[in-house]
Amino acid sequence: MANFFDNKARAAAVAATNGASSSKSAAPKESQNLQPWVEKYRPKSLNDVTAQDHTITVLQRTLQASNLPHMLFYGPPGTGKTSTILALAKELYGPEMFRTRVLELNASDERGISIVREKVKDFARMQLSNPPPHYKDRYPCPPYKIIILDEADSMTQDAQSALRRTMETYSKITRFCLICNYVTRIIDPLASRCSKFRFKMLDQGNAKKRLEDIAENENVKLEDGAVDKLIKCSEGDLRKAITFLQSAARLVGAVKTSHSRSNGNSKKRVLEDEDDEDEDAMEVDGVDESMVTIKNIEEIAGVIPNDVIDGLIQAMQPRSKGAVYEAVAKQVTDLVADGWSATQVVAQLYQNVLYDDALSNKQKNKIVMQFSDVDKRLVDGADEHLTVLDLALQVSGVLAET
């Protein structure tokens, strides 16, 4: 049985059969071109998942032990929670059994208590279908089904409590995987039934490697430092970083029809044959494409240029009272009319003001209080103009204190 779950051997078998299945995948290739890169570069196997080493090792070990506990994945957005479970399920069941053995529900599906009682329960108690002969040679197909409840923190309390007994009763043939951003929103009885996996923020190195791979695969040329900027703007959210990258590439027209050819044959070898890939790219491309610059990325990420923020900070510096108001009011009015989002203004102002060493701790304390207040107001949907103006004036008031 142990051998049964040996992934390495199985991976080799998959690779061997890939040639056969590639004819099948030829048809949807065209639609794949139009796919967002986030989908296109979703990890195909557990080994591909970036940066969650601890979690992946644990998962792989549980796999080899031929059993899987109920699982609860939590962590900030864009760290690979959904990708991991999908990759795991694909490795376990392969393309043919995937449909019958895996149920994926997310917030776009109705997930009230009635659905948990009917759909989930029905699926959970369904007897297992047998895999076709010889299928087991390629995929483990363990004798249980997986129900993935994505974005589980948006389920109501009632719906969650309805799951409790279901999870236990059918645990022989069904495993649950709950995915959420905030583990605190999952009720205790559910959390205690699952083994928890925390997905940490991606660290710089891994995210950088992944982005560079993708850029290379898609023939996008990046300016030096552009990747670092991407990572900085996306705050550890790899999905955001990839979306930004794709948007930037579209923007400068770096993606031409050329990528449709090169992606077809390079999809499977993300890491190996890099040199070969390069040559390939050269051939197809011929001409030098426009580069993705740091400025492009800032523009897409909605980052406010430094001089605009500096202007505002300059206006906030203590002077005679009247002058401060006039200057700040003008800057804020322009900011709002230019359409910069208030949350972004607040975030960047925060960075700038707080790392100013000239301020005393006491002043910083007061300023942070203001920021927290304003953030809450913005989330509640208060008027941006008034709120930002208020923030700027209050902070300027604190700056004037000595």
């Binding site: 917030a107 948007s247 009319a337 359409g339 913005l378 509640d380 008027d383």
Partner: protein, 352 residues
Amino acid sequence: MALLVDKYRPRSLEALTYHEDLSERLKSLAKSGDFPHLLVYGPSGAGKKTRIVATLRELYGPGVEKIKIDSRVFQTTSNRKLEFNIVASVYHLEITPSDVGNFDRVVIQDLLKEVAQTQQVDQSARQRFKVVVINEADHLTRDAQAALRRTMEKYSPNMRLILLANSTANIIAPIRSRTLLVRVAAPTESDICKVLEKVGAQEGWAEAEGLNRRIAKDSARNLRRALLMFEAVHAQNEKVTDKTPVPPPDWEALVAQIADEIMAEHTPARLLQVRAKLYDLLSHCIPPTTVLKTLTFKLIPKIDDALKADVIKWSAFYEHRIRMGSKHIFHLEAFVAKFMRILESYLMGMDF
């Protein structure tokens, strides 16, 4: 006869006058065949919608302009029936889910899935996907936005979304990370002047440059408002010169009057009078936020510099309360009372 705003609305990306680089970008996006989900944000009257309609035209050709209005009925889980209007052409749909308030999630779930699961039938269509334009995306509830998340990824071959919003503050991070953010800044005053000049020339009106500049300034960089004011001035006066006064809207005049009254006397009796006027404004469907904001900015120039920061602070405070609370008049009145108190204590030179 159509209003000037509609009559001279640019129909194609080439005809747009300002933000040329943005138009260029939209054009290259539309051409690339790989159109992303968009989140278009900017202040009102900046030309978000105009740009999107022009982009759609660039995507699909003139077919998108043949629109019809559908009325659909959705059923919530509690069996409540919701009537919902959809503006649609063969290629795109336009919806305003915030019309149905808290039930927008149902609409998003049902409608988008239905659209997403049907492929484009018209073989001659230029794009394989349909576009769904969602107006007022920043008013979508959290649930509705959560419902969008996976839908956007899963059905992206068949459907693209364009979200229109005034600000990105209320859009949840997962949505922001799945869309291409497009910022449409408000036109500058000189941009507005140019547009006014052009429209005036096409209408055959005598040009008055000083007037145009004043309109541009009064409109607070809102092109729609500028055009409406422009038309109003020309409709009211046979002959316009640089000196022709630009009539403010009635409600703004009333707010100015309230501001004067507040400055003149700080007593409970005056508060009562002001209250009647505020009620008047509210009953004419002027949004309370607008009332409060206009009132604040009318009061600010009249008071001493030392008080300005304080007044803004309380104005922001009560604006937040208006948003959270349900009875608007309370908070408007509270602001007026607070203002009177601040001013009085400043004038008397003591705290009470």
